[in-house]
């Protein structure tokens, strides 16, 4: 790693000699050692500010007493320094300072949502006067809404400036600002109503008082001490943000960060933090839905019996390999094993696919694992690398907390950030170099870059500046790739090209000792799904009666479309909207005799199912989740009243209806089995797994089989008068977590056709006008002008139920005709 080893110096705190790191201010070192120094404005994410004066200590340095008390939050330790934290002078100063903080602070702790977890409350109790002497009128200013999530209470603010510094130094969007001066100072929000907030929720945690509180937690959700906490994992991205799921009286009350410094460091994105209302939304399926002549709601048991009857008949009539099974990447790892056993032993089929590999080729997972597994590093490793190259991903949308942490590191000059993807992204702002290429041109770009570094083959001119910088990559270099890899027709080929790039960087840059490749996956447990889907290729382990999968999602769907499969069983995956080739899915759903869907909420695919079985949300199911750094983390069931089945319950229910034995007795048995077939899995029980999770190194298959080509694929371009359709993943889209949580109703979601102003001017459209995409206007969307869009392309949200992008984006990349629609404001 590029970081220097930590040096220690010896200082004396309250007469006791201690060793503290030389690069850390005294406040944090002393607190780590157990000395209670109160503070408000200091925060481990922020640079020292010294506003609140609560952390004053008495200091003797260089054999001389410092004339005044010093703020320990900005005091660097020096050899032989002496510090007193309990001196009467210090205690007196603290007490007086606290009295100042409380001058204008209202005495409404019983009403305040922060009461019980409030720093001011705690410190007033520990260090305060006990009674206020201020008898005058306190400053009054009515509350305001900061943004759709947060309420701003001006009266309670003590002007520590944490949130303002967060908005400028961490978030970087300056959405909060001090206005006016002196005693009149207040915090004003500069919320852009057109933009969805992305990291604003963190100010709730940072605020040491109750000035910034969550609207969705306000009053009704109880007090902090009443919450029952369960460790869980944020479900929206593959970073796997560690969260506490708070429940009270049997209902989910809120989500707070669990603060795992190695994973998300407490920085949650707003979609993860506020996306919990869907867990108990009344639209969640609690009974089974059977569609015969008409739609009927039956009990779960009856639904499973019906599903078992249909599947039993098909397996009996058509023999092995007549049923296809698909599963999304939001399930837990042991549930994938249950599904694999179900496919092999009960359905007797190898037409199954678990996870989110969307390609249509034959079993590419071993190639994926080989390229990924041989050179991945941890999130810490990425952040400590000297150079980080992001390829084909917009981290702020795909893995927000990783994106934010990289953004901060780049801003503070701790690493060099280099970006290349099909359009500009938010993370470009502190990058040393940002390049864009037409959507679909990732493979061409990567091969061109490799050629430039190795000096062999054809080199497109646009990659040269990036190659120049990569030649001086420094001690280590991390490549982070993302969505464009998974959206390409052949992800393993792209990953192979990336592996070749990794070697090329290592050879071209003499100082570089290590080059890593870390993909950002599409879903929270993509890594777990990948692992279980093809573990036969990782190890010699075999499961009796289970064969390796025949291929990826496309392979299964094509077999169904060709009439080879008679039934499809789909677990929690909206294939109709998410798979690029909509025509294939349409055909597959039409050509099979029966579709069994299992998922918590209705969606486009489940509408076509003959039987829709209920499934719990992630808060209802416990298990292992593996994130993008291959850290095995645990997710427990929230302390809520509502119960919902796990995948194992459903699978066993169907097996029983088919007259077969259950695939596993219970989840612990599955976990034990999982640890047997996947060697190196750090644990086989949930109890043994610490809350922080454990790292796991999968043993990848040999790399030498993978020969990456140096051929340059053809350039992607749209013909004149057409634009390149770019489906892009956004944080706010039509996922269940967002669609069924009321809090997001007020958020402006990016359901637009994003156009470069130059292209919009050519088309004669402006903001808010509607355009039709495709020859037959397959997509009709309102326009939003955005400078970040590459000229010549139109960016659409890849998950929008009303206007799904896969109506057009067949084989990516697609050039589409664009036409302005006359009827403005149609819905």
């Amino acid at each position: 790693m590029a970081r220097k080893p930590i040096e220690y110096v010896e200082i004396e705190i309250d007469g006791q000699a201690v060793k503290v790191p030389a690069n850390q201010v005294v406040l944090w070192s002393a607190r780590e050692l157990g000395y209670d120094i109160p503070h408000f404005c200091a925060h481990r994410w922020l640079v020292p500010y010294g506003a609140c004066r609560m952390c004053l200590v008495k200091v003797e340095a260089g054999g001389r007493m410092m004339p005044k008390l010093q703020t320990s939050c900005s005091l660097m330790p020096a050899e032989g320094m002496k510090i007193w934290t309990k001196d009467p002078e210090v205690i007196q100063a603290r007490r007086e300072q606290l009295e100042f903080h409380l001058l204008n602070h209202p005495l409404e702790c019983p009403v305040c949502d922060k009461g019980g977890e409030c720093m001011l409350q705690d410190q007033t109790r520990d260090h305060g006067m006990g009674e206020g002497r201020f008898r005058e009128q306190k400053r009054i200013r009515p509350d305001a809404s900061m943004n759709p999530y947060i309420r701003l209470n001006y009266k309670r603010c003590i002007h520590c400036k944490r949130c303002v510094n967060y908005a400028s130094d961490i978030d970087g969007s300056y959405f909060l600002q001090f206005v006016d001066r002196g005693a009149e100072t207040y915090i004003e929000s500069f919320d852009d109503p057109a933009a969805a907030p992305r990291f604003s929720g963190n100010v709730i945690d940072m605020c040491p008082v109750g000035a910034l509180t969550a609207k969705s937690y306000r009053f009704t959700m109880g007090r902090p001490w009443e919450q029952e906490l369960k460790p869980s994992i944020g479900a929206l991205d593959s970073v796997g943000a560690n969260i506490w799921l708070n429940a009270r009286l049997g209902d989910v009350a809120r989500i707070v960060p669990r603060d795992n410094p190695t994973v998300e460091n407490g920085m949650l994105d707003d979609a993860t933090r506020f996306g919990w209302e869907f867990i108990e939304d009344p639209r969640r399926l609690t009974r089974a839905l059977v569609r015969g002549e008409e739609e009927t709601r039956v009990s779960r048991l009856a639904g499973e019996t019906e599903a078992g009857r249909i599947l039993g008949r098909i397996v009996n009539e058509h023999g092995p390999g007549s049923v296809g099974l698909l599963a999304g990447a939001g399930l837990n790892t042991e549930e994938y094993l249950a599904l694999k056993l179900f496919a092999g032993r009960v359905l007797n089929t190898s037409y199954y696919n678990l996870g989110d590999c969307m390609s249509s080729i034959e079993v590419p997972d071993d190639a994926t694992l080989a390229t990924v597994g041989s050179g991945f590093t941890t999130i810490e490793g990425i952040l400590n690398a000297a150079t980080v190259l992001t390829l084909g991903c917009d981290l702020f949308e795909e893995a927000p907390s990783l994106g934010l942490r990289l953004d901060i590191a780049a801003r503070r000059g701790l690493l060099r950030l280099l970006n290349a993807r099909s359009q500009q992204s938010g993370i470009d702002r502190f990058a040393e170099l940002s390049l864009d290429y037409p959507f679909g041109g990732l493979l061409r770009f990567v091969r061109g870059l490799t050629n430039a570094l190795t000096g062999q083959g054809e080199v497109p001119p646009e990659v040269t500046p990036l190659a120049e910088r990569l030649r001086q990559a420094g001690e280590d270099c991390a490549i982070v790739c993302g969505d464009e890899v998974w959206l390409s027709e052949d992800p393993p080929t792209v990953l192979k090209a990336l592996a070749a790039l990794r070697e090329a960087i290592a050879q071209a840059s003499p100082d570089t000792k290590a080059v890593y490749l870390n993909p950002v996956y599409k879903s929270v447990n993509s890594a777990g799904a990948l692992l279980v889907n093809c573990f036969e290729r990782l190890t010699d382990g075999r499961l009796e009666g289970v064969t390796a999968p025949v291929g990826c999602l496309g392979k299964v769907l094509e077999a169904a479309a060709a009439g080879k499969l008679k039934a499809l069983v789909i677990f929690d995956k909206d294939v109709l909207v998410r798979y690029q080739h909509r025509d294939v899915v349409e055909k597959a759903l039409k050509n099979v005799e029966a579709v069994i869907y299992c998922g918590a909420f209705p969606n486009a695919t489940s509408e076509r199912a003959h039987v829709h079985l209920p499934l719990g949300t992630w808060a209802h199911r416990e298990g292992f989740v593996i994130n993008l750094e291959w850290r095995v983390q645990k997710r427990l069931v929230a302390s809520i009243d509502s119960v919902a089945p796990s995948v194992l319950d459903v699978v066993n229910g169907i097996a029983a209806a088919m007259g077969q034995s259950p695939v596993a007795a219970d989840l612990p048995a599955l976990r034990a089995q999982l640890a047997r077939v996947i060697p190196g899995l750090p644990t086989n029980t949930l109890d043994d797994l610490p809350d922080q999770g454990l790292p796991f190194s999968p043993k990848p298959p040999a790399l030498d089989r993978l020969k990456a080509s140096t051929d340059l694929p053809a350039e992607v371009a749209a013909p004149d008068g057409q634009l390149l359709l770019t489906p892009k993943r956004f944080l706010y889209n039509d996922r269940e977590e967002i669609r069924f949580s009321r809090v997001f109703d007020k958020i402006p979601k990016p359901f637009y056709a994003f156009l470069n102003p130059a292209d919009a001017a050519k088309l004669g459209v402006s903001d808010g006008e509607w355009i039709g995409l495709g020859g037959g206007h397959e997509l009709e969307l309102p326009v939003q002008l955005a400078a970040w869009v590459r000229p010549g392309s139109v960016v659409v949200n890849d998950y929008y139920l009303a206007q799904p992008a896969n109506r057009l984006a067949g084989a990516a990349p697609a050039a589409v005709a664009v036409k302005k629609l006359a009827g403005v404001g149609k819905d």
């Binding site: 019983p110 007090r223 009443e226």
Partner: protein
């Protein structure tokens, strides 16, 4: 006093003394002054001011908030309660629908009196003096199952009339 010295007269006197006490007490039942027992349930004792009986949620009876509930739904009573008797769910006052002064009020205030040990911690914790303990002690009932007579809801506790 030894038995040998009592004599007949002394014995009769002792008997009479005893009978007089009995007669006094007997008379006391009809309104005499030296009553040791009361004719419960016809008559009921007046409790000491500090007696901790059944709870009651108070309203403001004067001042600018007259008529509003004192309870602000802070749930400190629930936090203080050692027997986990109280459940509070708060909500926000609106201009049209105002229950208490300020922003917050209790929309649910349940007390499970089967658990209550009448320790009075809730009244001590209450920052507004909304929950007080009155002198009712007749809490017995023969129904334990739902609808549970011992589960006192907000409407039972608020404006509750008490008997003495």
């Amino acid at each position: 006093m030894s038995r040998a010295k009592v004599g007949l007269f002394g014995s009769i006197k002792a008997l009479a003394d005893g009978l007089i006490i009995t007669l006094k007490q007997f008379g006391g039942a009809f309104g005499g002054r030296n009553t040791a027992t009361v004719q419960y349930p016809v008559k009921k004792l007046k409790m000491q001011e500090r007696f901790r009986g059944l709870h009651r949620l108070e309203r403001y009876t004067e001042g600018p908030f007259k008529g509003l509930e004192k309870c602000i739904g802070c749930a400190l009573c629930a936090a203080a309660c050692p027997a986990e008797v109280i459940t509070v769910v708060a909500a926000e006052n609106t201009e049209e629908n105002r229950f208490s002064p300020g922003e917050r009020y209790a929309v649910v205030y349940d007390m499970d009196m089967l658990r209550c040990i009448f320790c009075g911690m809730c009244t001590e914790a209450c920052p507004t003096g909304a929950i007080v303990m009155k002198h009712d002690y007749e809490l017995a009932d023969d129904r334990r199952r739902e609808p549970n007579k011992f589960m006192y809801h907000k409407e039972d506790l608020l404006d509750r009339e008490f008997h003495w």
